[in-house]
């Protein structure tokens, strides 16, 4: 069982899933496991963050402890994972 990390989600994402919260603790050893855990807790949320390239969506960003991360990024116990919306749109 991986150790607990903290995931912080953007407000625009939380607004799409009634009952979801901005800051949540999940057990995850990689970025992918953290996103999977979020999707297990709120069905459908994984699809809002990742797409069929099996990667993070083009206009989404994930930072781990302040560094730009990918799904493969390893997470230390207690890591802070920030899921963010990139600058986009018009």
């Amino acid at each position: 069982m991986p150790d607990a990390v903290v995931v912080e989600l953007p407000a625009a994402l939380v607004a799409l899933f009634p009952g979801s919260v901005r800051r949540v603790e999940v057990a995850a050893g990689t970025g992918a496991e953290a996103i999977d855990a979020i999707g297990a807790r709120w069905p459908g949320m994984r699809d809002r963050i990742c797409d069929s390239r099996l990667d993070i969506r083009r206009h989404m960003r994930v930072f781990v402890d302040g560094e730009r991360a990918t799904l493969a990024t390893p997470l230390r116990p207690g890591a802070e994972v920030f899921v963010m919306t990139a600058i986009s749109g018009g």
Binding site: A12, L13, A15, L16, P43, G44, D47, R48, I49, D51, S52, R53, L54, R57, H59, M60, T85, A86, S88, G89
Partner: protein, 362 residues
């Protein structure tokens, strides 16, 4: 005594869905919205059979989804479960078109493909037969991308379905989506070299609608002309004579008369795509496209530099029929008398991407 009815005009816009709620005379309108978290909503429809409202859209951050409201817009859910191509393929950017029919809900997406839901939009299955079509590798995107729009389920026969793909043309299935054939004979591709202007596929179809009744009558607004087919799209013939241009996006069939059609020609694909001469007109035929009348009463007749997009004109099912369109400048115009006279019923909205109607109990 018949239950009193009221009409909803459902709007998809570049920044959310909106609903205009009319009184029984279709004269006074109240606006509600924005809905769907201000996502770009390409197409918002009402399912007359269930009263549900579905909205297809896509958000730059979060990708595609079909939104649904079962209480006329008061609350919404969204789903994209199964609304994806196989792992590794180009992601779906947005849902472009939604249709309900034959006990299913259909979603057309970009890049072009078709999805079907048998559970009212909770989950989706890819209709693989269309993307497996041998012409697929040669489909070319139009200006808005490689999009599947103009989803036309046959109202009586659930096995039959037409789709429009920009710019691959019209395709039809007679077996519930398992197999498809291009149906573009007689429609032009002016942008092709001499001798190749009538290809089997590759036409830039803008909008396809089915005429009411038992016939196989279809109408089409194409990038290159306006057309009619009396055999389910196997053969098309031009009905553009008498219209001010060959270019436009929407077409709206009359709810009861198969010979009546409404078009909104624009000034041309390289001329700004405005209403011609800055003067707004809906054009109506009463004889299947043999002749046309410009309908202008109440519409802006000077300095109108807007366009009307492919899903942004609709009729209602009342008598006389109402006609509605929304503009790129965020205005909505309505006629309660088959286009004879018009009123602006909303303005200052985001760019209007779709207009549909839903009749509900008052």
């Amino acid at each position: 005594m018949a239950m009193a009815k009221k009409l909803l005009v459902l709007l998809g816009t570049k920044k959310g869905a909106f609903i205009l709620e009319g009184d029984s005379a279709r004269r006074n309108w109240a606006l509600r919205g924005p809905f769907c978290e201000t996502w770009p909503m390409n197409h918002v429809i009402g399912d007359a059979a269930t009263g549900a409202i579905y909205g297809g859209g896509g958000n730059e951050w979060f990708g595609p989804a079909v939104w649904k409201s079962e209480d006329l817009g008061r609350s919404w859910t969204h789903s994209s479960e199964g609304l994806a191509y196989a792992a590794g393929e180009t992601p779906i950017k947005s849902v472009w078109s939604v249709a309900a029919g034959g006990g299913a809900v259909y979603a057309g997406v970009e890049p072009a493909g078709l999805f079907r839901s048998a559970d009212g939009g909770t989950s989706w299955q890819h209709v693989e037969g269309l993307r497996d079509h041998p012409t697929r590798p040669e489909w070319q995107p139009g200006g808005a991308g490689l999009i599947l729009h103009s989803l036309v389920p046959h109202p009586q026969d659930a096995r039959r379905l037409w789709v429009g793909i920009s710019a691959a043309g019209v395709f039809a299935s007679e077996d519930g989506g398992a197999s498809w054939e291009p149906r573009n004979r007689g429609t032009r591709a002016d942008y092709n070299p001499e001798g190749q202007k009538y290809p089997e596929f590759g036409q830039c179809v803008h909008c396809v609608v089915l005429a009411p009744g038992e016939s196989d009558r279809l109408y089409q607004q194409n990038h290159c002309g306006m057309y009619r087919s009396d055999d389910g799209g196997r053969q098309w013939r031009s009905i553009e004579a008498g219209l001010p241009s060959t270019f436009g996006f929407p077409a709206a069939a009359h709810p009861h008369d198969p010979d009546t059609l409404f078009l909104l020609p624009l000034n041309g694909d390289t001329a700004g795509r405005y209403v011609p001469e800055g003067r707004t007109a809906v054009w109506r035929t009463r004889d299947g496209g043999a002749s046309w009348q410009a309908l202008r009463t109440g519409l802006p007749q000077e300095n109108a530099f807007f366009g009307v997009l492919r899903q942004a004109m609709a009729t209602d099912r009342m008598a006389p029929a109402g006609v509605y369109f929304g503009t790129s400048s965020g205005m909505v115009f309505a006629s309660a008398d088959e286009g004879e006279s018009w009123r602006c019923i909303a303005q200052h909205l985001p760019t209007v991407l779709s207009v549909e109607t839903l009749e509900v109990d008052a």
